[in-house]
Amino acid sequence: MSTEFERKIHETLADAKLQLAIYTATGRLKAKRVETVAPDVLLDYQELRAQAHAIKKHAIENLDHYLEEFERNVEAHGGKVAYCKDGTEVADFVLALAKERGARLIVKSKSMTTEEVDLNERLEHHGLESVETDLGEYILQLAHERPYHIVAPALHMTRYDVADLFARRLHIAREVVIEKQTAIARSVLRQKFLAADIGISGANFLVADSGAVVIVENEGNARLTTSAPRIHIVIAGIEKVIPRAQDLATFLKLLARSATGQPLSVYTSFLSGPRRTGEIDGPEEFHVVLLDNGRTRLLPDRGKRESLYCIRCGACLNACPVYRKIGGHSFPWVYSGPIGAILTPQFMGVAHEPALPFASSLCGACAEVCPVKIDIPKILLELRSEVKKSEAREKQHRLEKLAFRAFAWLMRHPRIYELAGRAAASMAPSEEGGWIRGVPGLMNIPPVRAWLSQRDLPPAPAKSFREMWRRR
């Protein structure tokens, strides 16, 4: 485990205020989801999940076909499609277009895909101003932080934190009333919307058979981002494509319920191309950037490519007892929680943080709530095996490898297993004393020390089961 990962986990666990903020916010989202998918509210929830899984499976297995169909339909509506393999290519695309059109100010709606490629930083580096317009993202941009949660990016901040931040960064009086804070952000952002040359959005779905880009949101900022500036650029991962407009009947029933416990988000926008003759609003130019950034590397593996079914609802984060303790910023990349634990090693390589797939009790709460039924624990287990294979030759991992070899040998030799068990038991305090707070001789064994750092140990029984069985 990297010391960075360990340190962030420790710091988050030690911060009582933060612990409460994470636990309360995720608990609220969790409870609301349960309400909106309850059988008396959404009778066919389990069928919808199965359907969503089947549609995603089909789309990912025929990705080339549906991307080309999507591209044809976007172009038929007067839009343009570009393929980018990584963050540099995305930034180059936006920079070139901005230069050609003389654009300086960009407004952005919430997009995890652009977080993935650090788009804001790249654009600002070249002198463009890029402003996040989702309230949570705007707060984070002012704080120079990355999203804490896929759906609720500023989940870890209280209104008092926001009051301090606004006062410091916007040079205004400290304001703790949430409605007033929202009004402050609105007044700043409204000016940006009116002045912006380019709007950049993500996408929730790319519909192949109609060429529509579908965006769901609650604040209306995405609708402004995509319609007020004269140029709209959509930046979306290639896995966002779905075959048919009618598939949305499945996904839209699941997405907002899983994410925030709403039957539908406040706004669902269907965007197909630039403003047409006779239309009164909409951008003059409509570009869709389809990003790979490692996604195609997942395609060959039948099991692991399930990771690409994700619709970024964040339900697995709220359900995860690990996320609810260590929060979003402990995770080593932009995606946090269970989905981050499987996406990060696959997008960035297992060496990025080898301990990440192990930071799970494999409780399965994530798979239980996943609207597209990604078997996250199964993928975590596969990634663990990959990590161990990649570490096999490294010196510092030899001891563990040796220990598991010894374990496997011992478990195939029942007599010696029994002797070893009795030998270990003879070193531990006996049953009479109750549960143990410390074991002098055994404290030097790291797993024993780690266990005892948090919990007591059971005393060793006088006899093992097999001994009792023989003598009964």
């Binding site: 986990i9 494999l362 095996s385 750092s453 059971p458 093992s464 069985w469």
Partner: protein
Amino acid sequence: MGKRVSLFVTCLVDQLFPKVGMAMAAVLERLGYQLDFPENQTCCGQPAFNSGYRAEARAVARHFLDTFERSECIVVPSGSCTAMVTRHFAELFHKDPAALERVHALEKRIWEFATFLTEVARVEDVGARLDDVVTFHDGCHALRELGIADAPRRLLAQVRGLELREMEPAAECCGFGGTFAVKFAELSGAMARTRMEAILRTGARTVVSLDASCLMQLQGALSRAGASVRTMHLAEVLASR
């Protein structure tokens, strides 16, 4: 009656909680089963599997297949170890058709203890009595990999003198997770304490579960916190009279 049942007590029960195995045996004998304890049994291999050591896990799993080859029906006091066999052995042998056939045959013969009682023995009242207020902790693998939720509650409902109080929130992980408990000790401990608070809120004096591993985690945290709540495996509850 006189039906034969093989016990797989799991390495944890064998080495640390033999009373759980004895209690399970007592309940099964009371129901008229003839018991057999294949002495070659050790572990299902889950510690190696969950730690990413698949070759090592496969070796242990093969030993398990050999040990229980001739057992017609195997009963296990653990949802987690049962799930390892029924849900993950097949993954380990997906490139070995001969072994895979044995695995699929084994999957049909192995039962978690509570489900064995309600679905094979078809009993709910095993004649137990325990004057106590208890809460039930759903082990994650029993609940989510095997779908076991009702069976233990139906069995507990028939125990004379026993009052069951459900935890709020229900069905959350205790934070054990095998080697996770020591690899991420601080995190695992924090998860255990959150679960412990839910237990304490019920006012129950005893926590019951289907897995000795979850109970070891919870008892370890309860004991460290100085709480007087005790833990009992379902088999121990059902053996009480």
